[in-house]
Amino acid sequence: MPEKKIKCPSCGHVTTVNGNPGETVKVICPSCNGIGAYQFPDENISHSIDDSFSAISVVELTKKFGNIAAVESATFQIKKGEIFGFLGPNGAGKTTTIKALLGLLYPDKGEIRINGTEILSDEKKAKNQIGYLPEKVAFYDNLTALQNLMFYAEIKHVSKETCLPLLKEFGLEEAANKKVGAFSKGMTQRLGMARAVLGNPSILILDEPSSGLDPRGVVFIRERIKHMQEQGATVLVSSHILGEIQEMCDRVCIINKGKIVAVDKIDNLGSRLRLRPKIVILLQKMTDAVIKAVEKVNDVDHVQAKGTMLEVTCQASAKANVILAVVKAKGNIMNLQIREPSLEDVFMRFTEG
């Protein structure tokens, strides 16, 4: 019976399934319990990776600069239509990975597929599906915004008529005929986003999309990214603004010192790390009775009193009981704050050391 190794698009776990040629089998990931399906081809062809649901597939990517591995054996897949956060400290290998996705640098090892097309074997076909916003957004400074955009439109064989409406959409209508050299950082960033979405690519790769933008610009870009997703696009976002990633992304990938250390939904990563919510209670007066009552609540991990402030770390299910215990012990609550485990906590844990 034919055998097939399938990589779970959610957690990256590789599992083996068996089936007859032409048969569709249900696949349950033993790691994350994700459910999927796989249809065996009529002929028994062995593939190392299943690309059918992947917009971007990276397998064993390794890139060294001298003796230093900027990226080492990185493997992850981005599902079609998802917003995928790509995180890591400075120098972790994010930009190297992104550049490899675009064929801008050559991996020492590994394979990258864009919608099933190997980037280095058919780079034009692969790149035709991508819109890219680099970390360092650069244009031809001696050309106007419109001239710049029209040049890129021609390269991508997109109608030049789409350029002016696009500039208008990104709030650059009045600056359309100004030279880009005179643009502010925020304006250049907006123009960079306009260039990235030229021709409605099916994949967007955005390196620090909010860089240099004012709060209104940040919200606009976030909404534009979500809009692209609604239209079916797949988005890879690399950002240091973790709140933004948490708000937008379906899954995240954390890279540290060139190695992928986590790929999953943020909630799943938090559970895997056993991260707990923290309840911060400000009391009118701190008493021993309150502290003891809280300590007795089931699933409370840690209790700490600082003056009139009580910090309680517990499982999510114990939150209500903690507050109830404080009230029952006659604690007069002045203020209450519940801090759920954040992407920042996840990030710090995965990148520590």
């Binding site: 640098l105 050559y106 360092k136 244009f139 001696n142 040049f151 390269i155 064989h157």
Partner: protein, 281 residues
């Protein structure tokens, strides 16, 4: 998708380079320099005797042209690749569906086209003005000079693209471009003349002439090949005074000189592609 030839990425990159040089007036400046140089040499080169014919004019300005075309070619292209890498615009460009070879060839066509147009228009206008003021005009002779000059320009644009693809930063590429100019215009001739004198002695050289290898090595230098090409078609002209007293050996021919110039262009572009292709951006 059916796309017209004019929408081919190579021609789009070439068009951008040409438009850039039109916008920044470089093409106008170069055209003016070539026209003014030719007219000045023709009118003032004979110490007050008025307009000289085209053959005399070419001979009179060859030394300057042999210095000028290489440096302009090198300055046009030294930052074409490395400059865009430093600015970050090449990363953005190459994230679009086009290949590195298309960028390189597009830039060569664009920059080569800019220099060629400046040479043809500049020298052409001057040639028309001179032709209108002198009795004898050898058009074929002048056109062969124009085409040879275009070939020399293309050689140095290709060499500049090689430097631009090889070096890590713009300032190093510029330094190399200046060094190459010195090397081809001065150092090359000094070295081979020095070796010839050291190996045979100046007396032997004057009595029996230069050895065969000297002539062969001499024309490897594209500037010498250009000078020889013009000499063969127009009359004795050279940037190197020693060459004026030399008779040309039998194996010198226009086709050989054209082949050498084309070989320099092609070899430089192939090497530029090899370095550019394997470069991490």
């Amino acid at each position: 998708m059916n796309i017209s030839l004019l929408q081919h990425p190579i021609l789009l990159v070439a068009k951008k380079e040409i438009m850039d040089n039109i916008r920044n007036k470089w093409i106008l400046l170069m055209t003016g320099i070539f026209a003014a140089l030719t007219l000045l040499v023709s009118y003032f080169g004979s110490l007050g005797q008025g307009w000289q014919d085209l053959g005399f004019t070419i001979a009179g300005m060859m030394t300057l042209v042999q210095y000028l075309i290489p440096i302009i070619g090198l300055m046009l292209g030294y930052s074409a690749i490395v400059g865009e890498i430093e600015r970050g615009s090449l990363n953005a460009l190459l994230s679009f569906p086009l290949k590195r070879i298309e960028v390189l060839i597009g830039k060569f066509i664009g920059l080569g086209g800019v220099l060629s147009v400046a040479l043809l228009v500049g020298f052409g206008i001057a040639g028309i003005v001179i032709g209108a003021n002198v009795s004898e005009v050898d058009v074929v002779q002048y056109i062969s000079f124009l085409l040879a000059s275009v070939l020399l320009g293309l050689v140095f644009v290709a060499i500049s693209l090689l430097a631009s693809s090889f070096f890590e930063n713009r300032s190093t590429a510029m330094g190399m471009a200046v060094f190459l100019w010195f090397f081809f215009t001065m150092i090359w001739n000094l070295i081979i003349a020095g070796i010839a004198i050291a190996s045979g002695g100046i007396d032997l050289m004057l009595s029996e002439g230069l050895p065969e290898w000297y002539y062969a090595v001499n024309i490897i230098n594209p500037i010498s090949a250009y000078g020889t090409l013009v000499s063969l078609n127009v009359g004795p002209v050279s940037a190197s005074p020693i060459e004026d007293i030399l008779s040309t050996p039998e194996f010198y021919s226009s086709w050989l000189m054209v082949a050498i110039l084309l070989l320099w262009t092609i070899l430089s572009l192939v090497l530029a592609y090899v370095f550019f292709k394997k470069r991490d951006l």
